[in-house]
């Protein structure tokens, strides 16, 4: 194989690898090439990769090679990681949101009773993300707070109104299973 192709594959493998890639591992990937050729290709590849004025570099870590960003750009990368669209919710938050969406208005105690798990942190997240709002208080002892979904919730899920939420029956129709 041409050295330039070996180098390209080495680069791709270091990119996809979870752990630093050791030189011996390349010998398994290229069993037909000699150790010298592979060592030379690796050296050339790493040198030329790091000579580029790019944003990434290949470093020798723990006896292997690993791709990272260059340390001098960490501030802007951090800015990006913070500003990226945060359309992600934890499973706990998602379950809590599901209970609120389908059972609203609902108290924290009722959410716990249905989920069978503590939900206050998840609820806090949902309140912070404005997907859930306080909609009143229940007229029972202790007058616990009632929660419901917000307008943000409708926007996030592209719903016109709460009546647009799919029902469990529709779900079982799609899933072709009995609930």
């Amino acid at each position: 194989m041409e050295p330039v192709e070996i180098q390209a594959i080495m680069e791709a493998i270091i990119y996809v690898a979870e752990d630093p890639v050791k030189p011996e591992q390349f010998r398994e990937i290229f069993p037909e090439e000699s150790k010298d050729i592979l060592d030379q290709a690796l050296k050339t590849m790493v040198e030329s990769f790091n000579a580029r004025p790019g944003g990434m570099m290949i470093r020798e870590v723990a006896g292997g090679y690993r791709m990272t960003t260059r340390p001098e750009h960490h501030e802007r990368i951090r800015t990006y990681l913070k500003t990226r669209p945060s359309a992600k919710l934890s499973m706990a938050a998602l379950e809590t949101l599901a209970v609120i969406a389908y059972k609203q208005p609902v108290t924290l105690a009722e959410i716990l009773a249905i989920r069978g798990k503590k939900s206050s942190t998840a609820l806090q997240t949902l309140l912070e993300r404005k997907l859930v709002a306080i909609v009143g208080r229940k007229a029972v002892v202790g007058r616990p707070i009632l929660y419901g979904t917000s307008k943000e919730f409708l926007i996030h899920f592209g719903l016109n109104s709460l009546s647009d939420l799919p029902t469990l029956e529709e779900f079982s129709q799609i899933a072709g299973e009995q609930l």
Partner: protein, 255 residues
């Protein structure tokens, strides 16, 4: 037409092992797929389908499916009915009425358009298949430490929301069944339980007791136990301000 004229039917019968049948039927997933297959195999002009022959072959396939105890879905029977209907329409001699439109509507036309439409989407599916092949040979892998909230990655769609709700409902049902099997607690046991709690706590939220109650009966027992302890002046209930959460505080050391 005899079976001998139809090699595919023979194939069916020869390879009557279960796995091969499943594979064969998968390639004709629906009635339209079978018709397209027959048209291509016999090199028939789509605009001039010999409807009698095709209907016969179609019904033979249906018979084989029934013979093999394959559940024949409603759409297969619907298509059979459509084919028979078209065939009967074509057998009726067309009355020529010169003052009316010259060309009578061909009873096959609608089916032809349906087949063409179906073939169009089969081709589109082929295109997606090819694209998927290409995409399957590339990897994108951001470094692990770039994922700040690694274990909190659930992109949320309505479907996720509904799935999550279904999970919760399922769990709730299972839990209820389990609790029904459990022995119920008495008021006396509950009073002892609450006293033990106040050995280590001076104050507790009223709601925290109710939250533990997973069944209605348990809730009532807890409530009665708390009232009994209030009556015995072992605990007191109070609110910091109106509508605030009710707190319970220990009034005297319990024995």
């Amino acid at each position: 037409m005899e079976n001998g004229d139809n090699p595919n039917v023979e194939e069916f019968q020869e390879t009557a092992g279960e796995s091969s049948i499943t594979i064969r039927l998968e390639s004709f997933e629906g009635p339209l797929d079978l018709l397209l297959h027959l048209i291509k195999k016999e090199e028939i002009d789509i605009w001039n389908i010999p409807i009698a022959g095709i209907t016969e072959q179609y019904l033979e396939y249906l018979d084989i499916m029934k013979e093999l105890n394959i559940n024949v879905a409603g759409e297969w029977l619907m298509m059979a009915a459509t084919l028979i209907y078209i065939k009967s329409k074509m057998l009726v001699p067309q009355e020529k009425k010169p003052d009316e439109q010259q060309e009578e509507e061909d009873p096959r036309t609608e089916l032809v358009y349906q087949l063409l439409e179906h073939q169009k989407f089969k081709n589109a599916a082929e295109m997606l298949y090819t694209r998927e092949e290409v995409e399957n040979s590339v990897w994108s892998k951001p470094p692990d430490d770039a994922l700040e909230d690694g274990n909190e990655v659930v992109a949320v769609t309505l479907f996720d929301l509904l799935s999550a709700f279904r999970e919760v409902v399922k769990r709730f049902e299972e839990q209820r069944v389990m609790e029904l099997e459990q022995e119920e607690v008495t008021i006396e046991q509950k009073i002892e339980d609450i006293r033990r709690r106040f050995l280590v706590h001076d104050k507790l939220l009223f709601s925290s007791f109710l939250l533990e109650a997973r069944t209605r009966r348990h809730l009532v027992v807890t409530f009665l136990a708390l009232l009994e302890l209030v009556r015995l002046r072992e605990i007191g209930l109070y609110q910091k301000k109106a509508f605030d959460e009710i707190q319970i505080s220990k009034l005297k050391e319990t024995a």
